[in-house]
Symmetry: C2
């Protein structure tokens, strides 16, 4: 199909779930190429040749051009849709949350989940100091999200945007990294709100 | 002045340098409010009330609305200017580099500089293992940049964009974090190219 997107993806990854979810919400066809970082697939020269940074997700457009970085992929796909506000300031607030997600949230919450849940063989490397750091810094990031969601339904404006998708990806599985989401009632209501949207698909879903 | 921007800033910070440089390139007037994280200014309730994440830079628009995250501020200010491509795919590539900068580059290179140069009182906390991690991961990020700049003048397309500003901010002072930039000739030529652009101002510059 001419308009089909191809995504190099890893099923367990929240970063890869972001474009899978958005493409499904938009009703856009997707071809998935599953990669397994555990066997070094993304570190091999043939993958490095198309993404020097050696990471997934990697989106291949219908004309073969490539795009990496999960949040850059979200912004690309959302352009001109209701998932990216047309208002300049609201769009800037979406960007603000996307950078917050990659700097303050993912490096703590996704990494904690990775060590404690996704790759059990890594558990031997986990020290009490590592867990305390993840808890403290990841908990701080969750508090920043809660400060918005305590009084609002969505992270930006009055509707569901790619800011919500980006922060949903690892927040909804934060318990797998040892976080207690019961402390954040606004986040709890927001997670349920997202899961109830039409065409929502869970992380486990494949096209 | 009605169109004046106010920036909560910290002079030594590369993240705060990004909007200072772009505002000067654009000829936009700027009022600077210098903050000193060492005295806890950004952690106090009055600052947390305007930025729950407690970080600078923080941009105040003429109408009082706020925007945080250095790269979100760059995208906001660059909209409609030559520093942000009009082409959808080139804009996506700018976003890709901005997320790369905050995830792969800043947490290694800016943090190494912070411990080894900006705050000498932190040097006692620096272990050989920390330095080795910064060198390995930050060096990897520099190699990814070099893979682009070995054959191109700019990170995206054929002109100077906010992707270049974002990655210039901490790359041009990477030696202060112990990195040897002589290993990256494409980066070296690019740093000189940026420093030679009209209206360029150095990190030390204040409006």
């Amino acid at each position: 199909m001419a308009n089909e997107y191809t995504l190099y993806s890893m099923q367990e990854s929240g970063n890869c779930y972001k474009p899978r979810l958005l493409l499904h919400l938009l009703g856009l066809p997707l071809r998935l190429i599953e990669t397994d970082p555990r066997d070094g697939a993304t570190k091999r020269p043939e993958f490095r040749a198309i993404n020097p940074n050696g990471r997934v997700p990697l989106l291949v457009l219908a004309d073969g051009r490539l795009l990496s970085e999960s949040n850059a992929i979200l912004l690309y796909l959302a352009e001109g849709t209701k998932y990216l506000p047309a208002d300049r300031y609201e769009r800037a607030q979406v960007h603000q949350w996307l950078f917050f997600e990659q700097y303050e949230h993912e490096p703590q919450i996704a990494v904690a989940r990775s060590y404690l849940h996704t790759y059990p063989d890594r558990k031997a490397k986990v020290t009490p100091e590592l867990i305390a750091g993840w808890q403290q810094k990841g908990g701080r990031a969750l508090s920043v999200i809660e400060s918005r969601l305590a009084g609002h339904d969505w992270l930006v404006g009055s509707g569901y945007t790619v800011a919500d998708i980006a922060l949903y990806a690892y927040t909804h599985v934060a318990h797998e990294g040892g976080y207690d989401l019961a402390q954040y009632p606004g986040i709890g209501r927001w997670l349920a709100r997202i899961a109830a949207t039409p065409r929502h698909v869970p992380l486990e879903w494949r096209p």
